[in-house]
Symmetry: C2
Subunit: 339 residues, 2 copies
DNA sequence: GCAACATTCTTAAACGATTAAGTGTAATTG
DNA sequence: CAATTACACTTAATCGTTTAAGAATGTTGC
């Protein structure tokens, strides 16, 4: 009700010094039990809660975590996969008393700041980076700073990272498709990145293990989440004399682009051709034919990232950098037919 | 490189007082031009940027905006429509030097805070509320506070709000469907809320204007974004002796649930039955048949919300509360056939 | 009975900025 | 030329906390 109540107000009300009030509320051990009780009671009665800025100024701790989250494709928060990771991350850090603030580049209080400057200005206790162009020098500068940090799906030299197990995912997916009788498998993969490289490598390795021949024209590259490019790439594959019987897409979203191309020709999934996506976005699981895909454990990815980050904030001595791998789960779905 | 540089450091380096440095950097008019230049130069050379906490403590301005964004359906940030609004909001406020921090309820620094307490603790300059249960008493408490605030798609007494024009949207959609020759139109609407009420009212009004008969069994209620419920509701409609020729869904997402029910029966869209969604989420625009839907102008919604909020933060005297209505745009798509 | 210690509180400095009020010098004015 | 004004700076208080160091009181040990 009243304007903000400060320690001073409580102090005068209780006839003690400001220091006593501060210590009482922080449960210091040089304050008597009865005094503590008395002060605490008055504090709640007066509706006191600490002034964040003052506390931050003095303690150099903000309980605020900066999140760098700039979709390369400019689709921002709309990217389903990372949105979920972020959401899980947010819930976990909040449970430990941290807030989440977005790190922005560009203009900031009429001054052009780099990500690092912004992070230092806001004095974030830690930083999470996801879904950005990791080759951006500004991002690199941030990663080289001394601020506790965790990245998702990208490993910076000697910094903690949570990465989804793309090797296992592709391998499991490919094995499943093989088991369903497919031998002619095409892979439309995403644009170059560490994730793409891991997947491609796993694809070739698994194919070799299975004794599969993969002609060069079965491998195409498009941008992630580009339904139009996916449509065109699919058309190219369907135009081949020796058509694949199954097509892998970089992500579920672009798989939908493939579906369009396939439907346009009057072909049916999975009867005439099989497809598989990656990520397990909600709509893919709900739509029919339900997509065969690797469901990323976004909940776990976000939570692990949060846990790791908080750990390195609160125990800087004992915490070491590490890469945590989170495995996805095959959703068999209905889009890969039995041959 | 060095630890943080403070005004004091610059002051001693430049042989002036701290006050002079502060004023020089803030371009006060009682500092000589050459001195300003000299100090500014030293400041950049030393890598100075202000300490946010100190500034906030003194000026009582944080340049931080709290966003309350709790999906009722627990899907958090994954809600496509609001994610986009938030993204646009974020970009706009950042351009004016504000940051965005999530307001969380529940645990916060080992104390259970209400939204308002959290907002006051962080000293947000302003607050944006979207995508929450507006009947939650905690949300109401926040709305009744004196902090500048803007809501999206809900109007609190005497507070600014940005709302999408549901009346116009439904009307335009229904008129289009009518023009395509449909007379038997069913409406599966969302759960009760101000948005739902506006749409329903508009639906009935427009139907009356067009002289349409809407039997009661054509009107069903489900939760928003519930594909399973949408599937079941669709089945109910398709089981009627007197089937509708077109079905409206609460949102694009649930429309996909309807598509499943329809496809399951071997029926084709729009040949055997027509459907329409609402929102214009990305996948709906990319998938075939492209959904007939009202595309919400999420970019504008977010931007207007940001503009309004910043205005009321920076010009508290001259700014008045108002409700801004943002109209959507009909996407004709391919899911409503010509009869 | 007095040094030593524990307990509980207070004093005061500090964090890094902003800003009203004060000071000293130079320029203007009637 | 004395008085006023303008200019360019400094002093010092302040925002709301934390925390090291000091002080007052009571307790213990020998």
């Amino acid at each position: 009700m009243a304007g903000r109540v400060s320690l001073k107000d409580i102090a005068s009300k209780c006839d003690v010094s400001v220091a006593t009030v501060s210590k009482a509320l922080n449960d210091a051990d040089d304050i008597g039990e009865k005094t503590k009780e008395y002060i605490r009671e008055a504090a709640t009665k007066m509706g006191y809660f600490p002034n964040f800025a003052a506390k931050a100024l003095k303690t150099n701790r903000t309980y605020n975590i900066g999140v760098l989250f700039v979709d390369e494709a400019q689709s921002g928060l709309t990217h389903d996969y990372f949105s979920r990771v972020l959401d899980s991350f947010k819930r976990t850090v909040e449970a430990s008393g941290y807030d989440v603030t977005f790190i922005s580049g560009g203009m900031m209080a009429n001054r052009d700041m780099t990500y690092l400057e912004h992070a230092r200005y806001r004095n974030f206790d830690g930083i999470m980076i996801a879904c950005v162009d990791f080759l951006d020098p500004d991002v690199g500068e941030l990663a080289r700073s001394s601020i506790p940090l965790v990245t998702i799906d990208y490993v910076f030299n000697d910094r903690s990272a949570i990465i989804s197990d793309n090797v296992q995912g592709i391998s499991e997916l490919l094995n499943y498709i093989y088991k369903r009788g497919h031998r002619k498998i095409a892979y439309i993969h995403g644009a170059d990145s560490s994730v793409t490289q891991a997947r491609l490598k796993s694809f070739y390795k698994t194919a070799m293990e299975l004794g599969l021949e993969i002609p060069d024209e079965y491998i195409l590259e498009i941008d992630y989440r580009d339904t139009v490019a996916a449509l065109e790439a699919t058309d190219k594959l369907l135009d081949l004399k020796d058509r694949p019987t199954c097509i892998l897409y970089p992500d579920d979203f672009s798989a939908f682009g493939g579906v369009n191309a396939i439907r346009r020709r009057g072909m049916k999934i999975p009867d005439d051709i099989s497809i598989a996506g990656y990520d397990g976005i909600e709509i893919a699981m709900r739509y029919s034919p339900q997509l065969t895909t690797i469901v990323q454990d976004t909940e776990l990815l976000g939570r692990r990232a949060a846990e790791k980050l908080i750990d390195s904030i609160e125990n800087p001595k004992t915490t070491f950098s590490e890469q945590v791998v989170v495995t996805g789960k095959l959703n068999e779905g209905e889009s890969v037919g039995q041959l």
